[in-house]
Symmetry: C2
Subunit: 239 residues, 2 copies
Amino acid sequence: MNTKAIVKDAHTEHHLGSSAFITDIVIGMSDGLTVPFALAAGLSGAVQSNGVVITAGIAEIVAGSIAMGLGGYLAGKTEQEHYQSELKREYDEVENLPDREKTEVRQIFEQYGFNQSTQNIIADELAKDKDKWVDFMMKYELGLEKPDANRARNSAATIGISYIIGGLIPLTAYFFTSTPINGLTISALLTVICLFIFGYFKSKVTGQPPVAGALKVMFIGITAAAAAFLIAKTFNKIL
Amino acid sequence: MNTKAIVKDAHTEHHLGSSAFITDIVIGMSDGLTVPFALAAGLSGAVQSNGVVITAGIAEIVAGSIAMGLGGYLAGKTEQEHYQSELKREYDEVENLPDREKTEVRQIFEQYGFNQSTQNIIADELAKDKDKWVDFMMKYELGLEKPDANRARNSAATIGISYIIGGLIPLTAYFFTSTPINGLTISALLTVICLFIFGYFKSKVTGQPPVAGALKVMFIGITAAAAAFLIAKTFNKIL
């Protein structure tokens, strides 16, 4: 549910060359399938009415997609602010404490075994252009790359919407069946197939081995659903 | 629900100097409060029995924490494998295509406006020690740092368990009240206070302004709960 990280992750994947939009859709859908499916499975062992399963599923999808979408949007803004404030600080340091910054550059290359004179050449060379110097310090010292605010926002929205669509898949079975257990049977079949398909594409767009990745996504979904089913059933007896 | 990113994020925060363990607890709890709270709120407007709200809440907590915990564990392993395979590839390249790798080093420094002769000095200097050269290419060319496998696993487990504890907070109110709407009133009061507290600490450990961050976490939780309430109520009438 840590949406800042999701957006960051999607952002990195963008650089890997896949279409960012497709990547976000696949991530949102494969994640969206998991928890709504497991929640519906859990309730199917505990309640008598498909209506309750559907209502709970809808409530989860709304809650989850808003937490992801809104959370991702706000996190994207925070990341942007963080980058700007660090950028300002680096410019101040380069301006006012150039010797200290040069020492930092030398230290970076010292760890790679560069001799003193090469360290000095690099530090002097970088110091010639303040913009590039700051750029180097941002990337190398702080590990920060310029965040794309629009991208973070669009990514959060796409992931949120795809989460909704993914989440509706396991619920559809409960519309066309008369008891939660029948709903669960069809929902599980349908969802496991979709988990495999979206897990496959998710792994492909995130640069993992696709079949192994698809099996992992499927395994997580099935484990979560089985655990939710058993615990909700047990709990319901006690209540 | 993209746990790979969560673990990565937690990993970065570890480097910021906060205790990694505390960071994971705070992240898990503040995230765990949001969706179970909103789900319970959604159901409160649609069903008549506290038992159903509690059962659905428990099912969501089980599903969410397994998706996060197991997902994080598997993602940590994948990240480790990815690092190892890229490391092997870099060693191969440095061994078999040293000229191409040297050109890549020169290109990196070309973008910072270094002249040809300095580019050559850096490339030659790096080439003296293959381990350090590979280390440099991994960090600079690929942006990869050596992942800590144990850390990823422990982090996923801590976040998952904290999600359970955070998720139980909004549910407690439904144990001690007789109708879902009464439960919701107390749950909302309790959860909003906790969202502020955990949002405050979450922002502190992730290096954001704490009060603004706390308000954001609170705002996301309230929006998700309000939307889930309205949509579940509307949907329930239609069903």
